[in-house]
Symmetry: none
Subunit: 202 residues, 4 copies
DNA sequence: TATGAATGAGTATTCATTCAT
DNA sequence: CATGAATGAATACTCATTCAT
């Protein structure tokens, strides 16, 4: 068999390992992930993992990182033709709604402050030239709003960060507190937007 | 006599165990806490722990709960004679400043979503009659502000919650992202208050 | 307080320890008996046991021995005026019926072949002058039967032993096999007597 | 090739573990069997056991079951051409003689009322269609005897059971009481057969 | 008399990891 | 490529026992 095919096969297997690891994390929690549990889930035995990952830690890091990316990718794109404040509201609302349908995933991936992962997802401490994807859209929407005279002139970078972190706070609490009714949740999200939007309005 | 002294000794030892457990959690992370690690740290052997705690879980819960209380106790009380918005600003600012001096503690205790502890610290999902201490002060200040005509009339419960969770979000990010400069931090806190206060003002 | 009273108290406590140990054995099985479990059951702490028993083994031996004696004492005395074969039948029947009402007790005490206990309850290997209580009555009844011409002349000692051990075998199986219906049990006992009595009849 | 060899090796090792477990049970009693004791006896470390047995209980069950089978296998087959009563006498005699040469084994395995094993060895409570091997031969011999007019007509099932349990009782006592002389033993066995056979004769 | 403290030895079990094959 | 064997180091937990008080 050709070298190339082997390589493809090899990468594919590595990918499958990661997928299985993510499934275990989601379904049984992060401490249920063991070298053997992931190998066993795939019908393999433990040592095979070491062909593809140096040690358990590498496997774990990669799995969490990928899981995190997958989740962020879920954030639905926003339809065009909205006013800036609608845009902010809709995009966050979409994200939260999507997220709360798989709260487990978020608890495992977003709230897992795994050291290696953390550095990759800084939001407050990035330089302008290196903005996180997450933040970029907020910034552009805010800028548009300020230019349109809807939002008061301000340090857009700074404002985007506190907007984002405010929403993050509500988001985390909603994930972490399981007994908030749907109505209550809607009310909280709505009220938070109301306050924030009013707070940044012209 | 002996009885009393023994009892005091016993309680003191229990306390020391908890302190050592908290230190381990702080210094090495929560998964480094084992019955033996805490006993060993104190120069004891493992079984003695079971004199004071039914099992590891009880030890863990108590340690986390106490750690959490210690931290909350740090939140400095606010001086009198402030306007409602100043009061909110000062109390949160104090809390964040105090917290950021022991950021490790927060990562371990506040962000440790240990199941047993979580239930005790729900903020969003409490009924009115059972408000969390954390929230109570926010509510009373908001109410005072609304009555004074400083804040716009609103659902005070709801608004307090989103106020709190917004601050929580910023707070978590500040803990989690270690490379935010003091200036930047001040600016973020200031801006967030600005927006929130404006958002709820009359 | 007087020496005598102390002594009485001491013996009484020793007795209570044994009773509690027996209860544990009966209710939770023999491997549930630990120095601490028995002390705890009495509201005491473990070390007190060592005032009354050298070690756990002594406690265990004594408890089993006493339990065994209590059980044997249950064997109801037989009414007078019966023919020898009736007497045998009735006395064994009584014993088995009584025993099967607390099968747990038997499994724990009679079937517990604890080395020290065993020696005290030999049935086959006693000398004539040292017959076990258990056997004595069988022997006297057999003797009476032989003298009355109901049973065939024979080595009464030997016959008593095999009579006893035959019944013991049925008895053990009935205790050990829990799914024998009452009817089936009656039939087994009846048939066994029939065969044995016929086997020793004149 | 390698696959086959490995498999053989694997099964052999499993077998060796069981053998060592049985030896421990025989020599030191059943409560001396621990995962580590058996591994240690073989020069291995404990975890290897878990390659071959799910947990200690599986190891224990297998070991006891195998031990039991080995013992039953010892019961020598009976030569042909005997009368029914001779057949019964000889087969039981053989069994007892064989058994008493390894009395320890019996104490450990036959008298070990391990829950899982027990169910497999019920004798009294089996249905007709599901007779225990142990009982089957007794039944067939009895039937033959009844048909031949040697034994009195009777409920053969029932009679076989009491015949078996009577012998079981004697057998247990002989194992449990170590100080019965060979002569005495012979006499007991002989007398018991005499009585039983007379008891069921036509 | 009775206790609390403390321990040492032991239990079953899990896991990451290595290595020869 | 993949495995089975094997291990060392953990883990939580239990228990009998001792000793000073």
């Amino acid at each position: 068999m050709s070298n190339a095919r082997q390589r493809r096969h090899s990468e594919e297997l590595r990918g499958r390992i990661l997928e299985n690891a993510q499934e275990i994390i989601l379904e049984e929690g992060i401490e249920a992930l063991s070298v053997r549990s992931v190998a066993g889930k795939m019908g393999y035995t433990a040592p095979i993992i070491y062909h593809y990952f140096r040690d358990k830690n590498e496997l774990l890091s990669c799995a969490i990182r990928e899981g995190y990316r997958k989740i962020l990718a879920c954030a639905a794109p926003v339809e065009a033709g909205l006013t800036p404040d609608q845009e902010l509201r809709v995009s966050f609302k979409n994200f939260i709604d999507a997220a709360l349908q798989v709260p487990h995933a978020y608890k495992s991936f977003i709230l897992n402050f795994h050291s290696e992962l953390l550095a990759e997802n800084f939001v407050l401490s990035r330089s302008e030239s290196d903005e996180s994807q997450t933040l970029a859209k907020v910034i552009s929407t805010l800028t548009a709003g300020v230019e349109a005279g809807v939002f008061a002139p301000c340090d857009v970078q700074l404002t985007a960060k506190i907007f984002w972190s405010s929403m993050f706070g509500l988001f985390v609490r909603l994930i972490v507190e399981p007994h908030v009714s749907q109505d209550e949740r809607e009310a909280l999200i709505e009220r938070q937007f109301e306050v924030l939007i009013k707070g940044i309005s012209a």
